[in-house]
């Protein structure tokens, strides 16, 4: 079993768990969104396999629904960042000149800055002042995805640019140009497929980064707002209950750990395969 397989298996397992949340709810017969004050900080039992949180909601079910949110945000942000980053990296490599210079200086600037304080500032913005509806779960997720993309595209763009630069200098590209292939088709058919491996590596790392950053923002209370569960805001609740229910802090963190490790293994595996 290679790293790639191990990583993919881990991620698949987590995705399956996220998809299975409604069935688990039907099977356990408890509502993870309804408070049950008699079950506050309940320990593990047949009704609550992992126990219950400060409002008596089932931890296992919230963990599964949280997986939907955390993995969904992570994947969406990484996908958007990868598309944007690949396009910009390709553009920089193909166009060269001042476009390349501006884009890469921008990337350098973003890389040199500490991302989190800026994200905190951005996350505290009021979407209502931009004319967006406030406080709905879907807009909440979109907002976080947009914020994550601001820093997420940089890594992808740098790898895509480096790959495209070396591809654009090869003989087969020159041959294609000599045959009169249009530039758009050249980039789409002859350069883009060659970028699959570096972009896949960057994308896997971007998923890991997005899941981690989302959890940090939600932990600080700036990400996914309760009552929607996410692994980050579950940890924020758990930190306030270190005396009553220390175990509640274990599971969401473990879930983040597995997701990030899975992504890192996939990235590592793809990178090794390319060598």
């Amino acid at each position: 079993m290679t790293r790639l397989h191990l990583g993919l298996a881990l991620l698949l397992l987590l995705l399956l768990a996220a998809v299975a949340a409604p069935w688990a709810q039907a099977w356990l017969g408890t509502d993870p969104f309804a408070p049950d004050l008699f079950a506050r900080y309940a320990g593990p039992s047949p009704d609550h396999p992992l126990g219950a949180d400060e409002l008596g909601r089932d931890l296992l079910l919230r963990l599964l629904y949280g997986a939907q949110v955390s993995l969904g945000v992570g994947l969406a942000a990484a996908l958007a960042a990868s598309v944007l980053g690949t396009a910009l990296g390709l553009l920089a490599a193909w166009r060269g000149g001042w476009v390349d210079a501006v884009l890469m200086r921008l990337a350098d600037g973003l890389l040199a800055l500490p991302a989190l304080p800026i994200l905190v500032l951005l996350a505290a913005m009021d979407p209502a002042k931009l004319g967006l509806p406030r406080g709905e779960a879907a807009t909440d997720m979109l907002r976080i995805v947009a914020i994550l993309v601001i820093f997420g595209w940089v890594g992808v763009a740098r790898l895509a640019r480096a790959g495209a630069l070396s591809l654009l200098a090869t003989d087969y590209i020159r041959a294609a140009r000599a045959l009169g292939v249009t530039e758009a088709r050249l980039l789409w058919r002859h350069v883009l497929p060659g970028l699959a491996a570096p972009v896949a590596v960057a994308c896997a790392l971007a998923v890991a980064g997005a899941i981690l950053t989302e959890s940090v923002l939600s932990f600080l209370g700036l990400g996914i707002q309760p009552p929607s569960p996410s692994w980050g805001n579950m940890l924020a609740n758990a930190q306030e209950a270190v005396f009553e229910a220390p175990l509640a802090a274990l599971w969401p963190g473990l879930a983040i750990l597995l997701a990030v490790a899975g992504c890192a293994l996939v990235a590592d595996g793809v990178a090794r395969r390319g060598r």
Binding site: G109, A112, L113, P114, V120, A124, D126, L235, L257
Partner: protein, 314 residues
């Protein structure tokens, strides 16, 4: 040394432009945050009439456009007038300075520990191939653990269960700061260690198979001397690159860790300032953090050129 001067001449304007752009972006996103100081005054004093509110808005310059306010603010900062913090009712620099020192102490200790442990683990992996998978696994674990979760687990174990160390906060005057530093430093250092271990292992094992090592071994140099005197100085270059590239992530990590441990520092200050509508403090704290991060990157780059003068000559 011409290379270093060149680097400085290149970097300085770049840093200045980054700071200006960042302050502009931050200014406008603050403009989009809910509420302003006058709306807070309105909540706390119901007797305010609309005329009073108009007057207050004019007094604070809130009736002018965002850009006009930005220019006025930036002009003040350039003249060295940093203004006051609304939250602490003190000059901003008097709030920022101790917070910066506290964060630097935290980050500095953590980086030293992480680099030391990471290099030791990397050397172990490079010298003993059988230990390599273990080091690899440990590095993967350290990379994937969310630092704030590790912080919570450490609090539960060492502060709640065992009661050996304080769960967070700051020491009272006259008490040692050391116990308060242990858990936050461990939290940051564990995550940072991964990169150093991985890069040290790769660089050292590449270095150890090069001809100058074989030649030194043939002349009878001991394995320990080979590692520390012949391989490590060359392997230090990628490690410094890592430090330069990671400065931003390191500072971000320190900010979260400070929040977990309720430790006074730039992270908590920035968070409180953003949450408490303290525009001026939030903005200057953000710029200060960015400046310090970029200076750290610059320092790492300079150190790299000092260790390997070939870098500047390309």
């Amino acid at each position: 040394m011409a290379g270093a001067l060149n680097l400085l001449l290149w970097r300085m304007p770049q840093m200045a432009i980054t700071l200006v752009l960042l302050s502009l972006a931050a200014w406008f996103s603050i403009g989009l945050m809910p509420g302003d100081p006058v709306s807070l005054a309105m909540i706390s004093d119901p007797r305010l009439t609309p005329a009073d509110i108009e007057r207050l808005r004019a007094l604070h310059g809130l009736d002018q456009s965002l850009i006009a306010r930005y220019l006025a603010w930036a002009g003040g900062v350039l003249r060295g007038e940093f203004g006051y913090s609304r939250l602490f009712a003190q000059p901003v620099w008097r709030v920022l300075w101790p917070a910066l020192l506290s964060t630097l102490a935290l980050v500095g200790t953590a980086v030293l520990l992480a680099a030391g442990l990471g290099i030791a683990l990397g050397a172990l992996a490079a010298l003993r191939p059988r230990a390599a998978p273990v080091v690899d696994g440990l590095a993967l674990l350290a990379q994937a653990v969310p630092s704030f979760w590790l912080g919570i687990l450490l609090i539960i174990l060492f502060a709640v269960r065992l009661g050996w160390l304080p769960a967070g906060g700051a020491p009272d005057a006259g008490h040692s700061a050391l116990p308060f530093l242990v858990l936050p430093v461990a939290t940051i250092a564990f995550g940072q260690m991964a990169g150093y271990a991985r890069h040290a292992a790769a660089a050292l094992s590449a270095e150890l198979s090069r001809p100058h090592i074989t030649s030194a071994r043939a002349r009878g140099a001991g394995e320990r001397r080979l590692l520390w005197h012949h391989a490590l100085p060359n392997a230090a270059v990628p490690l410094l690159t890592l430090l330069a590239l990671d400065a931003g992530a390191l500072v971000s990590g320190a900010l979260v860790t400070e929040t977990v441990f309720a430790r006074p520092g730039m992270g908590k200050l920035l968070y409180d300032a953003v949450m408490g509508n303290d525009y001026n403090l939030a903005l200057l704290a953000l710029l200060l953090v960015a400046l310090v991060t970029m200076l750290a990157t610059l320092l790492a780059d300079l150190a790299q050129r000092w260790i390997d003068p070939r870098i500047g000559e390309r």
